[in-house]
Every structure is written in structure tokens, then in C-alpha cells.
Amino acid sequence: MPETPLTLWASLPEPLVTVLVILFKITLILVPLLLSVAYLTLAERKIIGWIQVRMGPNRVGFFGVAKGWAQPIADLVKMLMKEFIWPRKANRFLFVLAPIIALTAAVGAWAVIPFDDGLVLADVNAGLLYILAITSLGVYGIIIAGWASNSKYALLGAMRSAAQIIAYEIAMGFALVGVLLAAGSLNLREIVLAQQGGVIDWFWLPLFPLFVIYFISGVAETNRAPFDVAEGESEIVAGFHVEYSGMGFAVFFLAEYAAMILIAALTALMFLGGWYSPFPDTATETPMIGVLLGPGIHWLVLKTAFFLFLYLWFRATFPRYRYDQIMRLGWKVFIPVTIVWLLVVAVAVMGEVPPWFNHPL
């Protein structure tokens, strides 16, 4: 009996089919994500180059055209070819584990991100909590890397990062509590659905302080400039990953950029209406481009790209914060502001203030 792939598929036991389908969905999320990471590095170098009146990468292209566009691939090949150096007396197991933890935390949170209404890998009802829990694991990658490297600079970077991430995670958590209050749900899909409507209906307006604080805390959580004291190349060489070479370094790099895209996507989902279009519903009747003007995944991608651009813009324009300034901003400014604004949001939700909170929860 000839076995076509279809009959083979039907003959598989049901649990195996479920697992295979889930693995396929994971690939569908991961491959575009990793490609975005690759080209985000190129975008970063190009954009910062233009801001500083330089060209950015402009040599490696495909078949002599699109100069610079093959730069991420060239970098990847370079990283793969490089030798992996073991520092003497480093803890081998933890030294390898650290970049893996960092990447797992940055990639694992994507499981509950809804890309469109119903387009989500795991539609869990504690999605927001899951995101917070998983992203809080990311700091272990940095701390373990710093400790296992058996290097002063790496340990200093890890210590700085630990204190910074604890401080900003609290502000971030409070900002998320505001979102949870406003949407009345922990499920990310329902949070977006609660923002149905135009630009005015999105949560950025009623939660404006939380929106700003969330994004700034996100920048601090991902250890990006101006909060990159964990790396601080002018003070402690490269901080926690100073001893990593080759693929170990590349995996840290991957994790950092995947976490950046995650924070950008989350900000878009929770404060800028996710996949909703800024145009009114009537815009979908426009000939030719009507579909593009309606809600869809492309709006989420656009909003995410906007926040990623902000990341790069910050890096090109702001000087690095000093350590005590970071602590002051986190503990003395952000946390009090979020707590006050939580009270305001709670009152607004109880008072059913239109147009955001007048729908039944």
C-alpha cells in the first residue's frame, strides 16, 4: 500500500499529532523572530550610523547589490567560526547554562503573545503573569554568566544588573497592574479587545504615566542604553559577557535583541491597541487598500517597529546613566508615580469613565 504523507499523518496517534502541531506553530513564531533579530542588528547599525552622519554597514551584499544587507549573515558565520574560549577555573556547566537561560527567557515569553484575534500559541488566562514570571528569569542568565566567568569585570556587571533589574521590575509590575485594572483581565487577547476602537480608545491615554514608565523600565530591563551599566564598555569592558566568545556571545546577543522585540511588542499590545487600526471602521471600505487600513497583524508589527526605533534612537542620543541615578529614578520616581496612578485608574474604572471604562467588565 503506497503511503502518501497525508495517510501517514492520519495514522499517527493523536497526542503525537498535537505535539507536532505545537512544534510547527513554535517554528512559525521563532523563525520570523530570529530573522527580525538578525535584521534588527543591521537596522540598529544603519540607523545609529545615519543619526551620527555615517553610512553604517555598506560592504557585504547579495550578488553585488543591496550593499550591507548580508551583514547579519556574515556576522553569524563569523560567530559560528570563532573559537569558544573557556576561562580558566570557570564553572563549565554554569558558564554554558547562562546564555541558554537568557535566550529561553527572552523567547519563551512569546508563547502567549497574540498576533491577531485568535492568532496565539497559548491563550492562557494568566498571560500577563506568565510574561512577568518568564521575563524575570532573564536576569539569571546575566547573574550566572557574571559569576561563572570567574572574572572581576563580569561579576561587577552581574551585580549591577541584579540591582537594576530588581528595581525596575517593581515599576514594571505596577504598570502592568494598571493595565490589568483597566482591561479587567490577565489574558493578553482580552486586554487588546478591551482597547477596541480608534487611537483615543487605546490605553496609552488613560494610562499615560504607566505607558511611559513601562517602556522606560522595559529599556532598563533589557539592559539597553542609557541603562546599560551591566555592560558599560567604558567602565567594565563588556560587563557580564566579557569572557564569552563565539556562539556564547552570539546567544547573549540574540537574547538581548529578542527581549527588546518582546518589550516593544508588549508595549504595543497593552498600550497601543495591538492589532487595531488607528483608522475608523469605515476606512476598510476604501478600494484597493481597505484591508490594510483595517485591523490586522501588520498594525502590531508597525507599532512594534516604532518602539524598536525608539530603542535605537535612545541609544544614539542619550548618555549612559550613572548607577546611583538609575537607582534613584527607579525607586524614588517610577514606583511612587505608578502607585499614585494605580489609584487614579482604580477610581476611573469604578466611575466607569467613558470612553475607556464604560463597557461592562
Binding site: P15, L94, V124, N125, A126, L129, Y130, L132, A133, I134, S136, L137, V139, Y140, I143, I144, W147, L155, A158, M159, A162, A163, I165, I166, E169, G173, L186, D324, Q325, R328
Partner: protein
Amino acid sequence: MIEQLFFYGFSAILIFAGVMVITARNSVHAALFLVLAFCTSAALWLLLEAEFLAMTLVLVYVGAVMVLFLFVVMMLDVNIAPLREGFIRYLPVGILVTTLIAVELAMTVGARRFGLDIMPAPVRQGPEYSNTETLGLALYTDYLYPFEIAAVILLVAMVAAIVLTMRRRQGVKHQKPEQQVTVRREDRVKLVKM
């Protein structure tokens, strides 16, 4: 069937991690094994559909408490040898305390109180069931007073800890950010005609 496999897998890891926490020689390794123990117990709670508790365990204990722990432990320069002195001398007291705790634990969480006949396995709820919502409702209605009192006690403890550790040193030059941001050009730059 698969659930049981997961249960025994996670339980085995949990017990292994728990044993390693107290036997590991390196204190950083011990702290990391504690992290592993927290993560696996969170997984066990997830199997019980207690997703709020599981996520909070990871978020609070793994994401915050243990990070601070590691922060301290990594900076310690502990010499193990003096700590191991007098092992035999303290052994009887140690055994006594251990037995006491074990007996107390067996009496409170033993089969007499938490056996399957008294506490049957929870019913499987549908996907619409929200553990977080149920817990929140119970905390803010039935257990409002204990909850609020616990919160106040924690707040008092926090304020007390800050008061105890805070010391104002004399003669320290502090940065005053509010003055820095309100500074005007005229205060700093003076144009002089030459």
C-alpha cells in the same frame, strides 16, 4: 497517564534539588538549586491548575527574592573549613531539632488532615475557570481581615527595616536632582564683552 509522568518527573527533580540545597558545598550552587526547587514546585502547582500561585512563586521567589539572595551570596567570601568544625559537637542538637520539625510537619500536613479521603483531588475545571479571579474574590471577601492585617504587618516590618538600617552621615555631599533640572543658563554662563 502523561500527567502522572510529569508529576513524578518534577517531583524527582524537586527532591533532588532540595537535597542538593543542603548538601552543596558552594553556597552559590546551593542558592541555584533552591531556584530549581522553586521552579519545579511551580510546575507541580501548574499541574494542579493553580496557575496564579505557580506564576507568583516564580515571579516573587525566583525573580526577586532569590536574585537578592544570589546578590549577597556571590559577594560572600566564605571559608568552608571553620564552618565544618564542631560537626560532631552540634550533631545531637541538630538531630533533636530535625526530629521535632519532622514530627510537627507530619502532625500538621500528614494523612490525618490532608489524606485523600479528607481532601479529595480537586475537580478539573474548564478553560473558562480563572484561578486568579477565584483567589482574589476569596481574599477580598472571606479573608479580608487576615489579608489586610498581614499586609499591615509586612508594611510595618519594611518600614522598621528601613529605619533600622538608615543612617544619616554628616558632611556627605549629595546630588540634588531637583536643583540640577531647574538650573538656568544665566546661573552658569555669563557672557562678558571683551
